[in-house]
């Protein structure tokens, strides 16, 4: 496993100084600033060279620096699963000539990320097969994440202006001279979890062509984050993956805490871990339950929902809201847990396995379920990595990559748990992996309950955390800190960071750029299901319509995270 200097030396060897590749120092990850002419060759080298071996493209985004001559930065985050290192690549471009070569031929994962960068900033990617807007609607004018775009400027979409794929109008006949039919799956459909749309061409029941449209829940999280202070972004993060709201907040808080340079106290870390694992269980319940519901098995969803309601009771007692908790703060948590927290979680640890067993008795060896899901939506390991898959979907294809084991945070290295992996890569394998992950999460929570040491739940640093109320009421200095934190927001030092955690769906990344003020300069959320869902339209041809519904359910697409 090469370290940073060795990797830099390997890059310098292939791209000597002056060829357009230079290393940038002083940042959290190894960063290279690359000239766009050299970019395709550099990317190919990063992927193929055995010392670098960056086979996973985690994230691709744009950043707007209007004061610079080269206004836009296209930022790539790459990861090597075998070597375990991360590399960031930045490609600056000018506004009047914002063209960057597309990397779709190197990593298929670049597909939708580049479309998003085009939609949000107007950066064109030459060689991209389908460079259209992806999140904003087709009648949208302007590029919203540019700094000169007014956040409230809306554009109306009329009925006839919605996206209609050009191939949908062609009349095609199959080999028996029957016309094929073009059908819309969604955006309002009982089996689209959230609002998604797939336009498919059907030859009987078999899908021959598909195109996916997303963006029906684009709520402009990234622009809203730029208008609010660092702590005010936390309610927005809750609504990203709303099935497991706590994990988004924890991921965001960990990234900002790295930038600020504080660490949450040990008690806060344990509580964050327990609630994250309970949220993971909740998310898997919704995913498996909704998937089963679409296939016609409604009973297990009803049984498993009792587990969700009971976890909700615990969460409501901790912070006041069942679903969108806003419990995390930068530096820890807002309040300590109530004193009956531990006994309630122990009750859950006894209750959830019984419900899981009931569900497994009905489903796992059920011949109907297996015939509907085995072999459906199979994805090989190499393909899955190329598409940027992470999380249970990747582990079901055979790649054992879990950030909790590879780059632990919140103390995961001290817990004894296993990561489930399957090799078939089909819908049934994803179901098995998720069920086993739920059981492993219960193991982790059981161990974590023994480690809840008494202590504070937020850092004592008053540049970061609000002072305790009794000090605010009595001491002048605390009142002033309180006032400054609320009015101006917490000041985060200038810099950038890419924070990543293992959310329920995969690698949830927050690429945060700060300019030293009380508001974020740029937050890019790397949603795990964005990368997973972009493979959907390529998986569909050859399957039947009902299989499409089964595959969609197993991918766990949460629109709040997908569209942000």
């Amino acid at each position: 496993m090469a370290n940073r200097e060795e990797r830099a030396a390997a890059v310098r060897h292939a791209f000597p100084p002056g060829s357009g590749v230079e290393e940038v120092g002083g940042v959290d990850l190894q960063t290279f600033r690359v000239d766009r002419k050299v970019l395709p060759a550099f990317a190919r080298h990063l992927k193929d060279d055995p010392a670098l071996d960056c086979r996973l493209l985690s994230d691709l985004c744009g950043v707007d620096y209007p004061d610079r001559e080269q206004r836009f930065d296209v930022v790539y985050h790459l990861y090597s699963i075998d070597r375990g290192h991360r590399i960031r690549v930045k490609v600056p471009v000018r506004e009047d000539d914002a063209v960057v070569p597309s990397l779709v031929s190197v990593w298929k994962a670049a597909d939708w990320f580049e479309r998003e960068a085009f939609d949000m900033f107007g950066i064109r990617f030459s060689g991209h097969p389908n460079l259209k807007r992806i999140l904003c609607h087709p009648a949208f004018h302007g590029h919203p994440l540019r700094k000169d775009y007014d956040p409230g400027q809306r554009w109306l979409l009329r009925e006839g202006e919605q996206l209609a794929p050009s191939w949908a109008d062609e009349v095609q006949e199959d080999e028996d001279h029957f016309e094929t039919q073009v059908l819309n799956l969604g955006p309002s459909h009982p089996a689209t979890h959230g609002t998604l749309r797939a336009v498919v061409r059907l030859d009987g029941e078999v899908i021959t062509q598909a195109e996916v449209e997303i963006g029906y829940l684009h709520r402009c999280f990234e622009k809203m984050a730029e208008q609010h202070t660092w702590n005010q972004v936390i309610p927005y993060t809750d609504r990203l993956n709303y099935c497991s709201a706590m994990m988004n907040g924890v991921g965001y808080a960990l990234a900002v805490e790295r930038l600020v340079g504080v660490t949450a106290p040990p008690r806060a870390q344990v509580i964050r871990l327990i609630l994250s694992e309970l949220s993971r269980i909740m998310d898997h319940i919704v995913d498996i339950g909704a998937n089963l519901n679409d296939l016609g098995a409604m009973t297990p969803f009803l049984y498993m929902y009792e587990a969700r309601e009971e976890i909700y009771s615990v969460l409501e007692a901790c912070c006041g809201s069942r679903l969108t908790m806003s419990y995390v703060r930068i530096g820890g948590l807002s309040f300590d847990v109530p004193d009956d927290f531990e006994s309630s979680v122990r009750y859950l640890l006894k209750r959830i396995p019984r419900l899981l067993d009931d569900m497994e008795r009905l489903i796992t060896d059920n011949r109907i379920f297996r015939e509907r899901t085995e072999g459906v939506g199979a994805m090989s390991a190499a393909d899955a990595l190329d598409w940027g898959w992470t999380g249970p979907c990747l582990r079901a294809s055979g790649v054992a990559y879990d950030i909790r084991k590879a780059e632990p945070y919140l103390g995961y290295e001290t817990y004894d748990f296993k990561v489930p992996v399957s090799h078939a890569g089909d819908t049934y394998a994803r179901y098995l992996v998720r069920v086993e992950e739920m059981r492993q999460s219960l193991e982790i929570v059981a161990q974590a309950l023994g480690r809840m040491v008494p202590g504070p739940v937020i850092v004592d640093d008053h540049r970061v955390a609000l002072p305790p109320k009794e000090e605010v009421y009595t001491e002048m200095e605390s009142l002033i800190w309180h006032f400054k934190l609320v009015m101006e927001g917490m000041k985060v030092p200038r810099g950038e960071v890419y924070g990543y955690t293992e959310a329920a769906n995969g690698e949830l990344g927050f690429y945060i750029v700060s300019d030293g003020s009380g508001s974020p300069y740029r937050i890019k959320v790397r949603p795990p299901c964005f990368a997973i869902f972009q493979a959907f339209e390529h998986m569909l041809p050859g399957h039947m319509v009902s299989d499409a519904v089964a595959i969609l359910g197993s991918m766990n697409v949460i629109a709040g995270e997908l569209d942000r």
Binding site: G320, F341, S344, A400, K405, V419, H423, L466, F483
Partner: protein, 200 residues
């Protein structure tokens, strides 16, 4: 990752009895019949809370509708410092300040002339309560407030000020909690709680 960190869950091939499926039907029916008969004779698996005859008791810290607390003389504790308005991510609080005429002490110089909260913009995050330096705004446990029009939902000082003594209010999210009135109840009770729990 080390091999001992990984647990492999591959699909186990179906046996002959499972392929025949008749036995599996019986096993599945056994699970659902157990729930059915358990409910029929003794309500063992019933979890339905029959609202509105039975109401689940909300947790101690529920973030519901806001209440502006008053001092002993009945004036609002709020000094119109605008911290809740700034802390609110939804910008749903609107305050206009005015001088307190002839106030007893110089400490309470300002008071709110207008204090409105648009309850249909509010996301019930509790940041206003966290931001208030005077413990003037807290949240109650009232969460059931459907409106027939948008104008009805913009509530002003008269509807937000506390009505009645503080000890009788059904308070939820606030800076200090005394002895908890409600505990986490698992399994969630399906019958009405023994003593009434404040105004609804």
């Amino acid at each position: 990752m080390r091999p001992q960190d990984v647990i492999v869950c591959d699909a186990k091939p179906l046996g002959a009895i499972q392929r025949l499926y008749l036995v599996e039907i019986v096993k599945g029916l056994a699970v659902t019949l157990r729930h059915f008969l358990g409910n029929l004779f003794g309500r063992k698996y019933t979890v339905t809370i029959e609202w509105p005859e039975v109401k689940r008791e909300y947790s101690e810290r529920l973030r519901g509708r806001h209440i502006l607390l008053t001092r002993e003389d009945g004036s609002p504790r709020c000094v119109a410092c605008y911290m809740c308005e700034t802390a609110c991510p939804a910008e749903c609080i609107h305050i206009e300040a005015e001088d307190t005429p002839d106030s007893a002490t110089v400490e309470f110089e300002k008071r709110p002339k207008v204090f409105t909260i648009d309850l249909l913009r509010c996301v019930y995050c509790g940041f206003c309560v966290d931001a208030c330096p005077k413990e003037a705004i807290v949240m109650s446990r009232v969460h059931e407030m459907a409106f027939a029009s948008r104008e009805e939902a913009v509530v002003g000082l008269d509807q937000l000020l506390q009505k009645g003594p503080t000890a009788k209010l059904d308070l939820g999210y606030r800076p200090y909690y005394g002895a908890p009135r409600s505990r986490i109840q698992l399994p969630i009770p399906v019958t009405a709680p023994a003593e009434p729990v404040g105004a609804r």
